[in-house]
């Protein structure tokens, strides 16, 4: 749980991604441990965000992987499910 420098030689043009949100890491990252995995984050508060998201994700309904041709051609009564978070 600390900021770490992301040191690379000037000739290294690879890029690194935040393990929490996918944004790019620029020269430093916030390191924390989650489920025995070392995580690299672009912000310090991403550590809290990770656990906050885990709680929500546990209640996501399964998604279906259908063909767009059959899934999208309906007149849109809203295809949305709402859940209480309380």
């Amino acid at each position: 749980m600390s900021w770490q420098a992301l040191r690379k030689p000037w000739s290294d043009t690879s890029v690194d991604y935040c393990d929490v949100c996918g944004n790019l890491l620029i020269h430093s990252y916030w390191e924390f441990l989650a489920d025995e995995r070392v995580m690299r984050a672009c912000r310090e508060d991403d550590e809290q965000l990770w656990y906050r998201l885990e709680a929500f994700r546990a209640n996501y309904p399964p998604h279906s992987a259908g063909s767009p041709l059959t899934r999208q051609s309906t007149v849109a009564a809203p295809q949305t499910i709402k859940e209480s978070t309380s």
Binding site: Y17, N23, L24, L49, F56, Y60, P68, Q72, A76, P78
Partner: protein
């Protein structure tokens, strides 16, 4: 009047005045770019943004011409500042950068930033982002719909010095101009960008002299707080919960595989989390989005729905988090191709949020789907009139979706882009095409209480021996959806009528392509005719609730027919297409 000695407490009046002045500076920069650019995509299309940023690269004000650049406006300059190091900027420097793997949206969009010093101290940056019409790569127009990695999409620049001590860095200019197919246009457009930076810097320094540095920098901070607090207040008014939506892309130009984006939007107190992590893995073709494009789509949707007149600046990012997973279509991983993410993915995701996700809780603010493709059509070759190489990035307007109190706009760029069309006169004087037709597709709009807006049909004939064309679009099989009982809009069609023939057939059929809407480097020849048909928007609300007088007008204007007026709208018209009010009232009552 020098007010540098006043307290740095800034009241709301002063905050508003100075903020408006900052926006006006951005507007003046934009006018300068429009008037001095060489390429119609700048001068006619207005495909650019102008920015004022604080000393860390945070967005303070913009001209707001092109909302699709919002994510990059919020993020790309901070990357440059951190990569270069604030201590390494000097008076007269200008950095250029177009790397989607460093905060850019896609490679044609180039960002320039110029530091502003006051009494030797770095106080701000002036910036702009603009879509260059040609940056090399595998296809003229640099929009290769079949690119499978970013290296095929053109010349990729990390932040590099374009000017040092106010003088051009010639080595960098030579690299750029040697890799673009139309270096004269690039020369002029890059100078238009540079000129607008100089205007912005001059005006900002004038403001600092008039108002005092402390006041101006306090406004930089306060205006972000104002936006943050305003957005938190608006989010707090939404019901807490998790809202879901998904959107599909028909193919990626490489295979016919559809790709899905899945969003879980979490409203939690005064914060919103956009969780895209369940989306499909990144595509082989260039429909992928860099992180900032997903950020743009999310924030723009939120601004359209609840933003009101909140100033656009880095304060937007504080109560909102965009969560993606690297290696998915929502967050492309190097070396994935991604040029289409900005023009196809972004508007679709934006409208998914507005329509399918937030629409049910904000029905008065939502909209049916617009045509929602930029219908990018790229071309290049040797102009027989001049012998010069030319290239152009053309985008086509579509119809917008109906809304709670109005029909959809006709022939307007998708809501994320806000660009203008290129007039026929400019088109024909710059490139070897002759227009046969450029009309509204009125008969294809989605029906509804508020009907969709009309897309366009453009037929152009090749007036050179050969032109190399490419395209990037979607919606060849998925109609723009209607809302709350409204009907669907129409589809994208890209067709060719070969010289000597009288029949149009799809490019896909004629050239045996994988995709009907995404292809690269097709050679068309003199006398061939190309027909571009952009989708019309979906309708909002049930058609039988449409004002009969508007239905009568629609019939006379060609948006619907006499028979459809009865069958769909439940409106009986006489032989002159005037409303028979008694019979219409009875018919509608009977149909209830």
């Amino acid at each position: 009047m020098n007010t540098s000695k006043v307290s740095t407490e800034v009241n709301k009046v002063t905050l508003t005045l100075i903020h408006r002045q900052l926006v006006n500076i951005c507007d003046e920069m934009a006018v300068s770019m429009m008037r001095t650019a060489y390429s119609p995509i700048f001068s006619e299309g207005l495909d650019f943004s102008t920015l004022i940023l604080d000393r860390e690269g945070h967005l303070i004000a913009n001209a707001g011409l092109n909302p699709s650049m919002l994510g990059a406006s919020l993020y790309a300059a901070t990357w440059i500042v951190r990569e270069v190091g604030p201590e390494n900027f000097a008076e007269g420097d200008v950095y250029v950068h177009n790397d989607p793997y460093r905060g850019g949206s896609h490679m044609p969009e180039h960002m320039m930033v110029m530091p502003v010093f006051e009494a030797g101290k770095l106080v701000a940056f002036i910036g702009n982002i603009a879509h260059m019409a040609e940056i090399g790569g595998m296809a003229p127009g640099s929009f290769a719909a079949t690119a499978t990695d970013v290296y095929q999409e053109g010349l990729r620049l990390p932040p590099v010095l374009l000017y040092k001590d106010g003088e051009p860095v010639q080595d960098i200019w030579r690299i750029i101009l040697s890799n673009h197919r139309t270096p004269k246009d690039s020369w002029g457009d890059l100078h238009a960008m540079y000129g607008s930076l100089k205007i912005g810097k001059r005006r900002l320094l004038q403001m600092i002299e008039d108002r005092g540095l402390e006041v101006v920098t306090q406004v930089f901070s306060d205006i972000q707080d104002y936006t943050e607090n305003g957005l938190r207040e608006k989010i707090r008014a939404l019901p807490d919960g998790v809202y879901y939506g998904e959107e599909w892309f028909e193919d990626d130009g490489i295979t016919a595989t559809p790709y899905g984006v899945r969003l879980s939007l979490i409203v939690d107190g005064d914060e919103i989390l956009f969780d895209f992590t369940r989306s499909d893995k990144q595509a082989d073709g260039p429909i992928n989005a860099p992180y900032v494009v997903t950020m743009s789509a999310s924030l723009n949707a939120l601004l359209y729905m609840i933003g009101g007149d909140l100033p656009v600046n880095a304060g937007l990012n504080r109560p909102v988090r965009i969560v993606t997973k690297a290696g998915t279509i929502c967050c492309v991983q190097l070396p994935g191709s991604c040029v289409g993410g900005q023009t196809e993915y972004q508007p679709r995701i934006m409208e998914m949020v507005m329509g399918k996700v937030l629409g049910p809780i904000l029905p008065n603010m939502t909209t049916a789907a617009s045509g929602n493709t930029s219908l990018n059509f790229l071309f290049g070759g040797l102009d027989p009139r001049t012998g010069d190489y030319y290239a152009h990035y053309h985008f086509e307007a579509t119809g917008w979706g109906g809304r709670v109190n109005t029909d959809g706009n006709n022939a307007t760029m998708p809501p994320h882009a806000n660009c203008r069309n290129t007039p026929v006169e400019i088109f024909e004087s710059r490139w070897p095409w002759i227009h046969e037709q450029y009309t509204l597709a009125r008969g294809e709009v989605g029906y509804g209480e508020h009907r969709g807006g009309s897309g366009v049909v453009r037929i152009i004939e090749v007036a050179a021996e050969t032109i190399t064309v490419s395209a990037m679009s979607d919606r060849a099989s998925q109609h723009p959806w209607g809302a709350f009982g409204g009907g669907e809009g129409s589809l994208t069609r890209i067709e060719i009528c070969p010289a000597g023939s009288s029949e149009f057939v799809s490019f896909q059929e004629h050239f045996h392509l994988v995709s009907p809407t995404k292809f690269t480097n097709i050679r068309v020849h003199r006398g061939d005719r190309v027909r571009l048909s952009s989708p019309s928007g979906g309708g909002y609300g049930p058609p039988e609730k449409r004002d009969p007088a508007l239905v009568s007008l629609d019939v006379r204007d060609g948006y619907t027919t006499h028979d459809q007026a009865a069958a769909i709208y439940r409106v009986i018209l006489d032989e002159n297409d005037r409303v028979d009010e008694m019979r219409t009232a009875a018919y509608r009552k009977e149909s209830e």
